[in-house]
């Protein structure tokens, strides 16, 4: 299964001390995936999607998944091909 870099809508909580906590991913069709728990936060690159930033290891509906904060945008390693791509 090919993987591509997909920027996503995120719902994020900002704390008074400036720290942030991602709460949920707002997927294309308006589906909201709540983050049950953040397991790890560290700077990391995504070789599969192509990018680098702060990587959040999250548990969503029992699955472990990575979400990256790249400067001020969030992306995930999405399965499949980007919409509109050829091939």
């Amino acid at each position: 299964m090919p993987v591509y870099k997909k920027y996503v809508d995120m719902i994020v909580r900002y704390f008074p001390d400036g720290t942030i906590k991602p709460l949920a991913v707002w997927w294309d069709e308006g589906k909201i995936y709540e983050i049950d728990r953040i397991l790890d936060i560290r700077p990391a690159a995504s070789m599969k999607a192509g990018g680098a930033g702060i990587r959040y290891t999250c548990r969503i509906r029992g699955h472990e998944t990575y979400i990256w904060l790249e400067e001020n945008r969030w992306f995930v390693e999405a399965k499949g091909r980007p919409i509109g791509s050829v091939g």
Binding site: R42, P43, A45, S46, K48, G50, G51, A52, E71
Partner: protein
């Protein structure tokens, strides 16, 4: 005191960052280069695969395409590279505050004081190499040694993604068999001169009598001799982002070859205004002026001179550059590209010593004029006010070096 110095060098930096972001081109020959539709498109960096085809940094895009027709050429994205450079520096700063950047993709680290905390030099180097790989997704090669010159040599020794240690007790075995041009500051010209007196390796350089080198190269000879023997004691500067800028320069390849002093004058004015404006923006004044000229046979020269006073006045920079140009260039060939850079900085808030004979009032007027023009250009664009002399041939002078500024990896020079 035994120093522990690291030199970290991001391998094929621009190309690596681009390849990270575009997984689909990772297995292709890739080069990052300036706009191909202009005449001045050159290769800034290339990846390992392109290197195998013989693509060279600094060569024109059309030539690289000839060597490797399948070459993927990507226009540079400097803000992205600066972000990655900053991320790498943040990692370095986890180990020491003595981080001295050398261009955008290299840095020296003095970890002497950190070894009791993090382990020996090679352990720190290994950790940095690993972290850059996982956190940035690009590779570095790191040299570990007891001075800056050998640390740099170490990072060039094995590429990519490697750590090389050059210890004090057996540096001769590793360093001395290497060709002399591997030593920092030995460029093509110095190499030629060294070869002409029978010096080909660093070892041969190291064992040459001082009087012989001094006679040929002056104080540079003494310096090279010290370097070859591992006697470099220059410190690694403390990291301070404000001081990271050491020179401001612009250069351009013009749309047609320059044929006379008047052509050159127009271009020098455009470049000097950009350089002056960038220095004023960053709050610097400089004292050393460098011009570089490349003729249409691709033969290039670089010459320096000093200003009598620290300056960032556009007219002073342009006139000095023109004066220097007239002195050093004999018009054997038309000129293809030309550049100005100013270095040896001081902050512009430092009071200046005025003298009895200089016209300080005139200089203050020029400074105010530059300030006013800067404001206009910032609000209404770089072409809103121009010198009349530039309008005699607008097609030649209509370029904006400031906004089109290219950041070259150090390896280019």
């Amino acid at each position: 005191m035994k120093r522990v110095i690291l030199h970290s060098d991001c391998n094929a930096f621009y190309a690596s960052v681009e390849c990270l972001h575009r997984p689909e081109i990772r297995n292709e020959p890739v080069a990052v280069g300036g706009e191909p539709e202009h005449r001045h498109g050159i290769i800034l960096t290339k990846n390992q695969i392109a290197k195998k085809y013989g693509v060279k940094t600094g060569e024109p895009l059309w030539k690289a395409k000839q060597r490797c027709p399948s070459l993927v050429i990507i226009p540079p994205n400097f803000s992205l590279y600066l972000r990655f450079s900053e991320m790498a520096r943040k990692i370095y700063l986890d180990y020491t505050d003595r981080v001295e950047p050398f261009g955008i993709d290299e840095a020296w680290l003095d970890v002497t004081g950190s070894t009791s905390l993090f382990g020996c030099g090679s352990k720190i180097a290994e950790e940095i190499r690993q972290r850059i790989k996982t956190e940035l997704g690009i590779t570095v090669s790191v040299g570990v040694s007891f001075n800056k010159i050998f640390a740099k040599l170490g990072s060039d020794y094995k590429k990519p993604d490697a750590v090389t240690v050059i210890p004090r007790d057996n540096f001769k075995d590793i360093v001395w068999p290497l060709p002399a041009e591997n030593l920092l500051y030995v460029g093509p010209a110095t190499r030629k001169k060294l070869n002409s007196i029978g010096i080909h390796t660093i070892g041969e350089l190291a064992t040459t009598p001082q009087s012989c080198l001094h006679g040929r190269f002056g104080k540079w000879g003494d310096m090279l001799l010290d370097f070859a023997n591992g006697r470099d004691t220059s410190p690694v500067a403390k990291y301070d982002s404000a001081y990271a800028v050491q020179s401001v320069g612009n250069s351009t390849t013009t749309i047609r070859d320059l044929k006379n002093n008047n052509d050159v004058k127009m271009i020098l004015f455009v470049l000097a205004e950009s350089v002056g404006r960038r220095m004023r923006e960053q709050g610097f004044k400089g004292r050393t002026l460098t011009i570089s000229v490349r003729d249409n046979q691709l033969y290039s020269i670089t010459r320096q001179c000093k200003f009598s006073k620290f300056t960032n006045i556009s007219v002073e920079i342009a006139n000095k550059a023109l004066w220097l140009f007239r002195r050093v260039y004999s018009w054997t060939n038309p000129i293809r590209s030309i550049g100005i850079s100013v270095s040896d900085f001081e902050h512009d808030t430092i009071p200046t010593q005025i003298d009895l004979y200089g016209n300080e009032q005139q200089r203050m007027r020029l400074e105010r004029l530059d300030g006013a023009v800067d404001v206009l250009k910032r609000r209404f664009g770089s072409y809103c006010v121009q010198r009349a002399s530039l309008l005699t041939e607008p097609s030649l002078t209509h370029f904006d070096p400031k906004s089109e500024n290219t950041i070259h990896p150090v390896g280019y020079f």
